[in-house]
Structure formats: C-alpha cells, structure tokens
C-alpha cells in the first residue's frame, strides 16, 4: 500500500512544480582598477540551468571518452583535456553572443563545442577522420568554427591574434568583441604584454581571460610567476579574479567584461581560478607535481557540474530523474559520436596537398621524390 502511494506521489509531480528561477549568491570577485565587480547574486532560470548542465556534462563526458580512446591508441599525438574546467567555457559563452569572437590555446575541445561544433565532428577530428571538423588535417589543437579561431598550438601566440580579431571588430563597427584566452603558463609570455599595450592604446574590444588552473604543464604557478595575481598583470588594464568553478560567477563576470568592451572602454582582463582533473596532456599522469589528495579535494568540494546540480536540486529547479535523463542522453550522444569517430574512414590521400592556398587555381606540389607530382586544390 505504501509502495502504491509513493508511485502516485511521484507521478503526480509535473514540471509546473519546478521553480522557474532562483537567485544564488556568488563569490565576490577581487578587482583591479575597476570601480566595482559583478553583482554578488546571480539569477538562474530553469532553462538556463538545464542548458548549462547539459553542456558541461557533454564536455565532461566527451573529454573522458577522449581519454579512453587515447589509451586505446585510437587518438594519437597531443590531447589536452578540459575536464574540471567546464564552468569556464560554458559560463563565458553564456555571457557573450555567438556573433562575438573567441580564441584559445590548445585545451580547446570544450570551446569548440560551445562555439557551435558538434561532439561528432570534434571526436572525428581527434581520431583523424574525414568527418572531423578540420577533415582530419588539424587534430586536437586545430579545430575551428564560425567566429572561433582555434585551437592554437604555440603557447601565447593566440593572444595577439585575438587582439587582431578585436581590432577587426572595432574597424568593421559591428559591436562585436573578442574573448582571448590563455593559461597561467602562457601568462608570462612577452607577446601577451605587447598585446596588452596595443589593445589598451587602441581601445580594442578584447576580453583577455587567464584560465588559471594552477599548473603550467608540470610547473606550479608559484614556480613560474613572480606575481601570481594574473588579474593584475595587465597593469593599466582593469581586471577581475573570478571563481572559475562556478558557472554563474563566470557568466556574471563575463557579462560585466562584455559591457565594458562594448561601451568602448577598451580591453579588460579576467582571471578564472579553475582546475584540470587530467594532467597537462594525455602523456602526463598529472600526479608527479601535485597530490592525488588535492585532485580529490577539488572533485569533492568544487566540481562545477556538482555545484550546479546541487543548486538546482536544492531549489527545486529540476528533479534527480530529469538530470539523470540528461546524463543518459549525453552518454548516448557521446557513444554515437565515438562510434562515428572510430568507424569513419581516414581522409583520402587525394586530400593530402589540398588547402594550401585559398581561392587559387589548382597547382602542383612536389611529393617525396622528383617523379611524384601531387595535385593541390583550394
């Protein structure tokens, strides 16, 4: 009898019972040369929450699947995974528009997704197949979509590129901005300071974002930087330090930064304090320079997906079953994508020399020996 009663109660709940939106306290951001930081409270609607949850979970599962495929030697070369940092990519995208621009370094799978790529084409790129987002010719570090400029392998080089995109935004007068990401390791690069200077001089609409995950490969921030206050390193550029594990904090900070840029005030800098569960890349177990305890502590206390999930559940914004349902759907999407990525054929050899030049007539390319003449088309 009790059992029947329970079933009735459960099935009687409808979606109309859920809280449509709620306000959450978010951590105060430290500010540098800014009058005030983002508000201390963020409003989250049910739809937004479900969408952020789904996207973060998709990134998480996609990266874990990539880990699996790498260990099976189906993915080769470099593979830098983003699990743990999901709130950054999702929070940033929530604070800008798809018509804005974004560029990052090599830990780019999450951004490829938030910028419009599909799991299928991302995974097929990792496995080097013709259905990959770059037809298998780029690999993990060289994925592109509309208004997303990669995926860049040379540490720090993407920062001047991003400021250049911002220059184009200003030049063309379309009220767009460029989000320009780099890590704590890259933050010491000279070209980044060159970029701060020009972006500031010319008031480029550029949001510089340092994803500080505490380690540049195997070197902790204390061992690499004389000043680890990355949000202040822009000196004359206003900055804020943000809790990068909280998708709402990231979103609110991004909104503030976007507003700053769009109002013509020039660049702004955000430091997102975040964490990567994996090592630097798949070649790095990630435990020689940090303890398993540290990793475990972050997982249990600050996981971005858990944080969002707890918030939504405790405010009755979603049900456990609903979120489980999303998990199942995500898992299926990843499985399908992995299936595609492992069965899609590799690019045809005919494609070897294509895409050297854009908008050019076909040309000949020397093969490995003088008798081999290969064809290249745009």
């Amino acid at each position: 009898l009790f059992f029947i009663l329970f079933i009735v109660v459960v099935s009687a709940r409808t979606y109309a019972d859920f809280t449509p939106q709620a306000s959450f306290d978010i951590k105060k951001c430290d500010v540098h040369k800014l009058e005030e930081g983002p508000p201390l409270q963020a409003v989250l609607t049910r739809e937004e929450g479900l969408q952020y949850y789904r996207t973060m979970q998709t990134i998480r599962r996609m990266e874990l699947k990539a880990d699996q495929l790498y260990k099976q030697k189906i993915i080769r070369g470099f593979c830098h995974l983003y699990d743990g940092q999901e709130a950054c990519a999702v929070g940033i995208e929530a604070g800008i528009n798809l018509s804005d621009h974004l560029i990052t370094a090599y830990r780019a799978h999450g951004y490829t997704l938030t910028r419009g790529g599909t799991v299928r084409e991302i995974m097929a790129e990792l496995t080097g197949r013709r259905g990959g987002i770059a037809k298998g010719k780029g690999g993990s570090m060289h994925m592109y979509t509309k208004h997303f400029y990669g995926g860049n392998g040379i540490v720090g080089a993407q920062v001047p590129l991003g400021a250049g995109v911002a220059l184009a935004c200003k030049y063309l007068g379309k009220n767009e901005l460029c989000v320009c990401l780099y890590g704590d390791g890259a933050a010491n690069q000279g070209q980044i300071f060159e970029t701060y200077n020009m972006a500031s001089l010319w008031k480029l609409p550029c949001i510089f974002i340092c994803e500080n995950n505490k380690y540049g490969m195997g070197t902790s921030v204390e061992r690499a930087a004389a000043s680890t206050d990355y949000y202040k390193r822009g000196d004359f550029i206003p900055g804020l330090r943000v809790d990068g594990m909280d998708v709402l904090c990231v979103r609110e900070a991004t909104k503030l930064a976007a507003e700053h840029c769009r109002s013509g005030k020039g660049p702004i800098l955000m430091e997102l304090q975040t964490y990567r569960y994996h090592g630097h890349s798949m070649s790095d177990p990630g435990i020689s320079y940090r303890t398993r305890d540290e990793i475990q502590e972050v997982r249990s206390k600050s996981d971005p997906i858990s944080m969002l999930k707890d918030r939504m559940l405790s405010n009755n914004m979603a049900s456990v079953e609903e979120l489980k349902e999303i998990d199942v759907e995500v898992r299926k999407e990843i499985e399908d994508a992995a299936q595609f990525a492992t069965t899609d054929p590799e690019p045809p050899l005919d494609d070897l020399c294509n895409h050297i030049f854009y908008n050019d007539p076909p040309m000949e390319v020397r093969g490995t020996n003088p008798w081999t003449k290969l064809k290249s088309i745009s």
């Binding site: 770059a134 040379i154 250049g164 001089l201």
Partner: protein, 359 residues
C-alpha cells in the same frame, strides 16, 4: 591643343608628357618612377579600392615611413587605416594576422625583415599554416612587407636576406620585386591575394627610377605571382636572379655583350612558387646556368634552383655544371671595403659566367 587637354587631365604626369612631346614626339605617356613611389602608389590605390585594406607597422603613419615608402598615406587615410605601432613585432604581427582572420586585409610592415625574426612564429605558424590546418575553414589574406637583404653600412644584424627562410615554407607566397614595374604589379597582386604573402623589398632599390609605361600605370595593372620575367634575351647562358642582383646581372650582360657573349637574364620576381619552367625553357636554349643572389649560399635560393634543374628535364641540356653566385658565407661586416667584398659584384658574375662557358 592635345597638350592642353593632357594638362587638364592630370598634373605632373601631363607636364612630363608635354615635355616629351616637345622633345621626342612619341605618344605614350611613360614616366620615370622610383621603386619607392611605385610601392607608395600601389598601396594608395589598393587602400582606395578596398576598405578592408589597412597598413600597420613602425613609423608608417606620422613619420611617413622609415624609408618614406608610405609617405602621404596617413594624411590621406587617417588613423584608422594607417596605424603606427609600438616597437613590438611579435605583438603587432600577431594582431595583423588576427585581423586578417577576422575579415580585414592588413599590410604588415617590418621596418626590415631582420626584425621579422622576432615575429616569425606568427608569420609561419599563425599565418602560413592555418588554411591547411583548418582544412579550408580559415584563410589569412595578409601581406608582410619591408626591405630585405643587404643595405649599405648597416652591419651584421641588419643585413640578412630572408628569401630562403620564407621560401622554405608551404602556405606562404614569397615575392621579390626588382623594378618599379615589379614593385607596383606584384604589390597589388599581393594585396589582392587571399593568402599570406611575404613581400621582400630592397632598400638600395627604393630610390632607383625605372620607366613605367602607361599600361603599367593603370590601376588594375597586376603582375601574376609565380611568373618570372626575361629581362634580357640571350643565347649563350642563362642568368637567374631576384631583386637588386638583377641590376648587376644586366650590367654584367652589357659588359659581356661587347665580347660577343649574349646572356639571357631572368628576373625571378617570385621566390615561392618558383617559376622553374621559365628557367628550364631558357636552359634548353642556352645550355648554361648561373644563379645570382645576395643571400648566403648554404640552403639558399640558388641551391634550390640548381636542385630543381638537376631533377628536371633541363639537366640533359646543360653543357657544364650549373653554379651559384652568392653573398659570402659570413655575417655582414661594417667597413666599406669588407662589405663590398661580402656581396656579389659585377666582376664576380662575369668571372663565374666565363668559367661556366670555359672562355
């Protein structure tokens, strides 16, 4: 009455035309234009033609250009289109590449190509390779230009030739003009090209005037990238060169003509893609080859040309081994006597030709 109409049509050009009519009585309004002015006019016309084109670099705006190549452009087009940068090559080259990725058509000036080494990662890894890495999703329509190679008395760090370095890399087009006509036609083509183009100028050529026909003066005069030009027809030997060395080849040819040796002088115009066919066709006629370049010998332009000739149909037409005339394999010294002996001179070219011809 014809001269009055001319005068009303355009200022200085018309005056020259009028003078010519009086002295020579020849109709076409050819003019004398320095390489510098040719570059300036080409940029001016392309800036006017396409709003997305802009110029950035050190001293390009208010200083009128370190070598005055961009004289008058800032006054005409303003801060938005002619941008003075701080002395931060890696930064501004990267910014230029990013702007090209996002839809603009930048001309990025390096005060000399020696300074491009600071930014070479952006030229190669960000510009040249991107279209390929993205499998055609992301193109980079940018021109990197500036003086290349030896100048006069500027010593080792300011005298290197980068033709071989950039010519090595797929994804780049590398162009090396000699005359004013080359400068004009190739720069226009480079700016209109949707791909990264490295445009190697030469400081010692900036002030040299060349005759420019009316056809060349037209706003849509373009020289195709990848096609060499035969500057002088000959039958006994093929000389292949680029940039300033073309002048020396022509001078050597003039001297040798008096001795009955007729040199065919090929102006490469483009380093990459290299017009091997033009060279091969010439060798099949002359049976001898000497390449002449200002840069260092090892792994250089001449080395590539010789390798290609070895591998191709022209090898069987050579009556003697092809040789290279190059800069001396040392950093550039300062003292004039030393500097003069570090780069090919006319006598070196003549010597090599005679050795090759066994005369």
């Amino acid at each position: 009455m014809a001269s009055l109409r001319c005068f009303l049509r355009s200022g200085k050009k018309a005056v020259t035309a009028v003078l010519r009519r009086e002295f020579h009585g020849t109709p076409p309004a050819a003019v004398q234009v320095t390489v510098r002015d040719a570059l300036n006019q080409a940029m001016d016309e392309e800036l006017e033609r396409d709003e997305r084109v802009f110029l950035l670099g050190e001293e390009v705006a208010q200083y009128d250009g370190a070598y005055k190549v961009s004289r008058g452009l800032w006054k005409k087009y303003g801060d938005k289109r002619i941008i003075d940068t701080p002395i931060t090559e890696m930064g501004f080259a990267g910014i230029a590449v990013g702007a090209a990725m996002a839809g603009l058509r930048p001309i990025c000036e390096f005060m000399t190509f020696n300074f491009s080494m600071q930014a070479i990662d952006q030229v190669i890894n960000s510009a040249a390779k991107t279209y390929y890495m993205s499998a055609g999703l992301q193109s980079v329509p940018i021109v990197f230009r500036g003086p290349n190679g030896a100048s006069a008395g500027v010593a080792a760090q300011h005298s290197q030739c980068f033709a071989a370095w950039y010519g090595h890399c797929p994804g780049l087009k590398v162009v090396s003009p000699w005359s004013a006509e080359d400068a004009r036609g190739l720069l226009k083509s480079a700016i209109r090209d949707d791909n990264p183009v490295v445009f190697l100028e030469n400081e010692l050529m900036y002030g040299v005037p060349f005759e420019m026909s009316e056809e060349v003066q037209s706003k849509d005069f373009l020289i195709p990238i990848g096609k060499a030009k035969i500057e002088r027809q000959g039958t006994h030997i093929t000389l292949v060169s680029h940039s300033r060395m073309v002048s020396l080849c022509l001078d050597a040819a003039a001297v040798l003509a008096k001795e009955g040796i007729e040199c065919e002088v090929i102006n490469m115009r483009t380093i990459r893609p290299l017009d091997a066919e033009a060279i091969e066709t010439s060798i099949m006629k002359t049976n001898h080859l000497v390449t002449v370049e200002g840069g260092w010998p090892q792994f250089g332009i001449g080395a590539e040309i010789l390798a290609r000739i070895m591998e191709g149909p022209a090898f069987n037409y050579l009556d003697s081994p092809a040789v290279r005339v190059t800069g001396v394999d040392i950093p550039m010294p300062y003292a004039k006597i030393l500097e003069d002996n570090s780069v090919p001179q006319i006598k070196d070219i003549i010597f090599s030709i005679k050795k090759t011809l066994n005369v």
